[in-house]
Symmetry: C2
Subunit: 337 residues, 2 copies
DNA sequence: TTTGTGATTGACAACGTTGTCAGTTTGGAA
DNA sequence: TTCCAAACTGACAACGTTGTCAATCACAAA
């Protein structure tokens, strides 16, 4: 039975309302009273009961991040960073795994909104692929900030990277090394990144005056297995590519594995690029040339934007685009002569 | 303004208490009334307000998992599994990053207990290394289940693997391949696994009648950098090891990287073993020989045990030991002649 | 002196549940 | 028929906060 506001009030010799004012930093409390109340709070070891506060204010002080477990590999560092923000701002951050098309996920989401009254959401791809989430949050009028959303909306704030540009830079890097047959591994159709990166790849080829060879474009679903299978097929072609741009890092790991299995030396016989710069990409051998996506910053700024909205502050812009950067490591080199 | 229990009661033509009985599946409601209430619930789209329920029952229906962000790499699959259990059992699962020795972590933990009234905790190494957590939970009388705890307690339930056995099996595997100079990379001093794995390594050597060479035992802190640095030093020895047992997978990644950098072929010139079987270990080349630790099952059974405790049910045993298994992949082979 | 204004304070309702307890109904045994 | 226990039901308090509003106080201006 922890101390309540009443215990504090009794000890400080004032009303519970005055204690409440002190706790919430409201004005109209004399310095003397404030000091007395604060002393009483310390004396009885008082901590406000969050459930009561939530009930009285009809707010939950909770933010939920919808995360698709398959992709995104949320390094714990990211989660930790987000929790810190929550700590500063007095919000609790709830990490919720979410599978689109999965009915249990949907029910859980409904319960988070209707029972827990979560104050706001951050979504990550491909959780936004169907309109279910946005529609649901729309009908319940729960604020939402999206990360790399499928559809960029004028009304829903989002944080994103420039995947067209990043993919173009990767491709130009490979072109500048002398590669002419560059394969591209396409991601799932429910993520915007898949299309944007494909566009960047194609833009670079066209700008270089090269044809787009459909046999060099394969599906990987952004998975290890997808990258592996695509590579086995690609390298069996009569004239195989000299470089594979894997669409994302996880697929690239599959490409690397397949290349090793086939007995190809990386990067001498096959250059490989990824996209995303997962933590592991600098730890494998050879280091993976990729595009660093500032996932931590993205989640952080999405969360901060959401909190601003919840506090009723205006955002500078509904669209936050963060820069990505090509990271050159050991997995790319000029093609074999 | 969502529907409340009053709206349901009005529509069903009964008291709010009767609605409450129906919601909670309590007895003493006639079938006819029950049906009418349920119809009303559906009609108004009622969902109970969790904050009010928490306040009235002085319970949070929340479980918190303390996770050290550096290690453990909680694959999202694990988190997802745990959330599912929570869903089944009507508990919300809070994932809380926790750094021992980090004062903010401690304050957050205190707030989780005293403000949020979290019903129970699951700890993972090395969050339990100091006694702070156990003491705190003890004084607040909050139930706790530990995973791979530093001290195995008779009173605090825990789930663990048999690291001594696992490490012994790894070492015996290397011995059976013919290795005689096997290095061991020690983990941090605040994790039981570090000592248990060292013991398994030493037991196997002693059982084979081999001496324990202290120059072959190095610190890695279970990190990539630690594994990398230790390997550079080890391979500079006048008579370097022919195999390195890296203590955990993350350190093993560092060993592999260093070996490649030195120009050693794996496994022909150097055999490498890890421990833990992180998801990536089967995706790198060559696949890493390691010990599979059933992390998902461990977190699952710890969570289930905690929920049983919270429900007042007795545990079959306070000590749950789950089997680990040696996984042979491509990173080990007989030593060079 | 009176008046007004802003600072300070507290009584009480409200938030949406569940717990307590007393009242009513039902059905079967005496 | 009467009585009793069990089944059913609801009024109301309680949980620990915050919001509303009225009351009081202090002090300066009129």
């Amino acid at each position: 039975m922890p101390a309540t506001i009443k215990d504090v009030a009794r000890m400080a010799g004032c009303s519970i309302k005055t204690v409440s004012r002190v706790i919430n930093g409201e004005p109209y409390v004399s310095e003397e009273t404030r000091a007395r109340v604060q002393a009483a709070i310390r004396a009885v070891g008082y901590a406000p009961n969050i459930s009561a506060r939530r009930l009285a204010q009809n707010k939950s002080f909770m933010i939920c991040i919808l995360l698709y477990p398959g992709l995104l590999q949320p390094s714990s560092a990211i989660l930790s960073r987000v929790m810190d923000i929550g700590y500063e701002e007095n919000y609790d951050i709830l990490i919720q795994p979410y599978f689109p098309t999965h009915s249990r996920s949907k029910r859980k989401l409904v319960s988070l909104i209707s029972e827990q009254h979560i104050d706001g959401f951050v979504t990550t791809p491909p959780c936004d692929a169907e309109d279910f989430v946005a529609d649901l949050l729309g009908t319940y009028k729960v604020p939402l900030v999206q990360i790399n959303p499928f559809h960029r909306s004028d009304t829903i704030p989002f944080v994103a990277g420039d995947d067209v540009l990043g993919a173009r830079q990767v491709t130009e890097h490979l072109l500048s090394l002398g590669h002419r047959r560059i394969a591209f591994l396409m991601g799932p159709r429910n993520m915007r990144a898949s299309f944007d990166r494909l566009a960047g790849y194609q833009n670079a080829l066209l700008a270089a005056g090269l044809p787009i060879d459909p046999t060099l474009i394969r599906d990987s679903e952004f998975t290890f297995d997808g990258g592996y299978t695509a590579t086995r097929l690609l390298m069996d072609l009569p004239s195989p590519p000299t470089a594979i741009f894997a669409g994302n890092d996880e697929a690239a790991y599959g490409v690397i594995f397949a290349a090793h299995e086939i007995g190809l030396r990386i990067p001498d016989q096959l250059s490989i690029c990824g996209y995303d710069d997962f933590a592991m990409s600098k730890n494998i051998w050879p280091g993976l040339t990729t595009v660093h996506q500032p996932l931590e910053e993205m989640i952080e700024s999405a969360t901060r934007a959401l909190i601003r909205i919840l506090k009723g502050e205006a955002l500078d812009s509904n669209q936050i685009i963060l820069p990505s950067a090509l990271v050159l490591r050991g997995s790319t080199a000029p093609p074999p002569r």
